[in-house]
């Protein structure tokens, strides 16, 4: 069948710089570069290039540049190049289009239209270098009442809590979808930082049991790798009901990625596709969810908080309120712009709602119902920097999950081809030669650096607002103002417009 596909990129190689060392050829798992011995020249098959910049970063003479393909179809404001190419692909394959990472489409990013306050005159800003500035948070359920013993002393009647040194956690990314070395980097960084990472739905490699106190284990619809030891070793258990990048559908890890090790962690045979069904087949309603929450609590003797993770969809406020009453300790909401290892493109780009709106309406609903204090709220779905964290908390979140940002810290260049399994940065791959490119010793330090840097920035922003504990920022929407938002958007976000 004819192939009409155009390349996405052009490889520009400066011949005056190229020394024919063939590093680019060896580094490219997509086999873009090759060497023509006869003519002593480096060649490039641009159709294969995914724009991961591995060759650019490693070329010793900086001879390479990857640029956007400059060829174009006849200009058409309705039919973009992308739309046309997707049709070619589907006409050729007859299949569903697959994509990775969060949607690249220009959808509104409300975080960018929200500005943060600072103190002037009427109250002092606080210098985090001179005064204590607290970023510690506890996640978990809070009882309605206090209890005292006969002497009047307060009893500690708090259910299990997660203690975070800073309100940031690494979100669910399974071993299988990402590499052993990526997992090790996340686990070690979480331990060093005093936060948590999340196993995703791929089970837990036995080597990582030692990071258990900083591990959240996931129980998803495929129930891969779930057994007593897995639950026992964790600090918390997350029931994955949905994911922001692909609400309403399950997961599919192709057989090629089910290596020996991955198969052991997932408890499925080597080489078989790991398919997570769209729903949990034992959860068709809220009362079923309640049963699973309590089964997991029973299994772990009520010693661990249970998180329920859902995708941000239209009716999220009511859903979250249902979850809050299901016994869950923590609700995690993953927004429309959230990342993924693989998702059908149409779903990723068209289903769900932005996290800012979901968060604002959930926080408000839980408050209207008087139950916001009973559960913690964690949000995900494209938290890109410390300002996003601060805005999310001021809108009402207790903490944020970061996924893509953590991978970028590990070297991910957002080429969005994780689903191909040939990640040149050793992250979204199981090929041993590629995996070893990510050194967990360096990887974990980069993650620690990233979160530490964000923590400093959060402290600066807090200090500017005259706040010295992140707790006093939670839901503090007066600290936010919108710019360029309409009345309805402001109403949903519960913030005023700048100047008001």
């Amino acid at each position: 069948m004819p192939n009409y596909i155009l390349p996405d990129f052009e490889v520009e190689r400066r011949d005056d710089r190229c020394i024919r060392c063939r590093v680019c050829e060896r580094q490219c798992a997509n086999e873009v570069h090759s060497y023509d011995e006869e003519n002593d020249v480096m060649l490039a098959d641009e159709l294969k290039c995914v724009g991961c910049h591995r060759c650019v970063a490693l070329c010793p003479t900086r001879a390479l540049k990857i640029v956007k393909y400059s060829g174009t179809f006849r200009e058409n404001a309705n039919w973009s190049n992308q739309s046309i190419l997707e049709i070619y692909k589907q006409a050729e394959s007859g299949g569903v289009l697959l994509s990775s990472m969060g949607t690249p489409n220009p959808c509104p990013v409300y975080f960018d239209k929200i500005l943060i306050n600072a103190s002037q005159v009427t109250n002092p800003s606080i210098d985090p270098l001179r005064e204590p500035m607290e970023t510690r948070v506890f996640l978990g359920k809070r009882p309605q009442n206090i209890e005292r013993d006969e002497t009047g002393k307060l009893n500690n009647n708090l259910p299990p809590q997660l203690e975070l040194s800073v309100p940031i956690m690494f979100s669910a990314m399974s071993y299988g979808s990402i590499s052993y070395n990526a997992h090790e980097s996340l686990a070690r960084a979480a331990t060093e930082l005093g936060i948590y990472y999340n196993t995703g739905e791929g089970g837990l490699h036995e080597d990582f049991y030692k990071y258990g106190p900083n591990t959240i284990v996931q129980v998803a619809s495929g129930r891969f790798g779930v057994h007593k030891g897995y639950l026992d070793v964790a600090a918390a258990i997350e029931i994955k009901m949905g994911q922001g990048a692909k609400p309403g559908i399950g997961g599919h890890l192709p057989g090629e990625k089910i290596t020996e090790d991955v198969s052991r962690a997932r408890m499925i045979p080597v080489g078989t596709d790991a398919i997570s069904p769209a729903p949990h087949h034992d959860i068709y309603s809220i009362e079923d969810l309640r049963q699973l929450v309590y089964s997991l609590k029973e299994a772990t003797e009520y010693k661990k908080p249970v998180i329920v993770k859902v995708a941000a969809v239209h009716n999220i406020a009511a859903i979250a309120s249902g979850i809050a009453r299901s016994g869950a300790d923590i609700i995690a909401i993953d927004g429309f712009r959230g990342g993924t290892g693989a998702a059908p493109t149409r779903i990723r780009d068209n289903v769900g709602i932005p996290i800012e709106l979901a968060l604002a309406s959930v926080d408000k609903r839980l408050r209207d119902e008087g139950i916001r204090g009973n559960v913690s709220l964690v949000v995900a779905g494209s938290i890109r920097n410390s300002a996003d964290v601060v805005k999310a908390i001021a809108l009402g979140a207790d903490a944020c999950y970061i996924g893509t940002a953590a991978l970028i810290a590990l070297g991910c260049h957002l080429c969005r081809t994780c689903h191909l399994g040939k990640c040149n940065w050793g992250i979204a791959t199981q090929r041993p030669d590629l995996v070893k490119r990510l050194n967990p010793e360096i990887g974990y330090k980069r993650l620690v650096n990233l979160v530490t840097a964000w923590q400093h920035e959060i402290k600066e922003l807090l200090g500017g607002m005259g706040i010295n504990s992140i707790e006093a920022l939670r839901g503090n929407r007066l600290m936010l103002r919108g710019v360029g938002l309409n009345e309805k958007e402001l109403e949903i976000l519960g913030i005023k417009h700048a100047g008001e």
Binding site: I146, G466, S469, E471, A472, N476, L478
Partner: protein, 366 residues
Amino acid sequence: MKLVEGRVRIPSGCAISGIISRDRRKFTGERIVESMKVMRERSNGLGGGFAAYGIYPKYKDSYALHIFYNDSNAKRECEAFLNEHFEIDEASELPTRKIPEITDEPLIWRYFALPRPSRLAASQLDEREYTARCVFAINARIDGAYVFSSGKNMGVFKAVGYPEDVGRFYMLDEYEGYMFIGHGRYPTNTPGWWGGAHPFSLLDFAVVHNGEISSYDANRRFIEMFGYRCALMTDTEVITYILDYLIRHVGLTLEESASVIAAPFWSSIAKKPPEERERLTYLRTMFPSLLVTGPFSIIFCFEGGMMALNDRLKLRSMVTAEKGDMVYVASEECAIRAVEPDAENLRYPSGGEPVIVTLNGGKDNA
């Protein structure tokens, strides 16, 4: 348009002062007025007020409701509501003295009232909660009526003006009580409304506050889950509700409440002995959204005494002193010296350290 409390948030700087006789010896309101007078610099004439305890011995078992009315319509509507929900022993205009410094006064009325037993029983609430909810209902629903004092054997007196003028206007020299607090306000806007002056009060709780808290909206949105409505958008209002919630609903002691709203830093908690560490960790984990940040000094009064508290960084001044059974708290030492030149045991409590003064022979808590 005047900027009215409740429609905008108006930050202020302030002066506060409090005087209590632990032996319940009565003295007149003149002293608190004198004490406030020397801190005139800290106010700008846009709000002053007082709370006085033990002033209505004749009606000590009735709720003394002080109400501002914009006009006689509001009064008529409010009185209908009152008659429906309360048995009223006495209704009269609150005595005032015409002085040139205080103008534009609303109608100011006082009622001594008790919940109607049938209504109270039907509501399944205790008497205090019933009264509190009636106060909320009037303030939220009856346009032009505002209950600014609702405790037993105590009263709040406030107005737009300098504190000493407000004291003269309300003839505070003619009231005798065992505890008084005063407040002078320095708002950054022009509140045109008397209800916006301080103290802020609910039942027998009254609060005066100096500061601008940075946690305001986090606190407000949390406390509003429990039926409070922060209609004035002032710090004092939200702090009063937080204390009312923690003390009256949750059942915390004053000291525990102080450890919630001005919680010690985690780094200080780590240095405490194990039992104390556990207690403080519990309180911070249980009530994180009631932590109050930003500068404040407050005096919180209840029938049995008062608590003075600074924010945990001590970003606002506050001094305490004693003389015999008298205890004094004020923004500045001069405010104490003005009424008690021989004051002893002068102290500057550290940030987050509550100073709790209770009546001798009374209960230890609010």
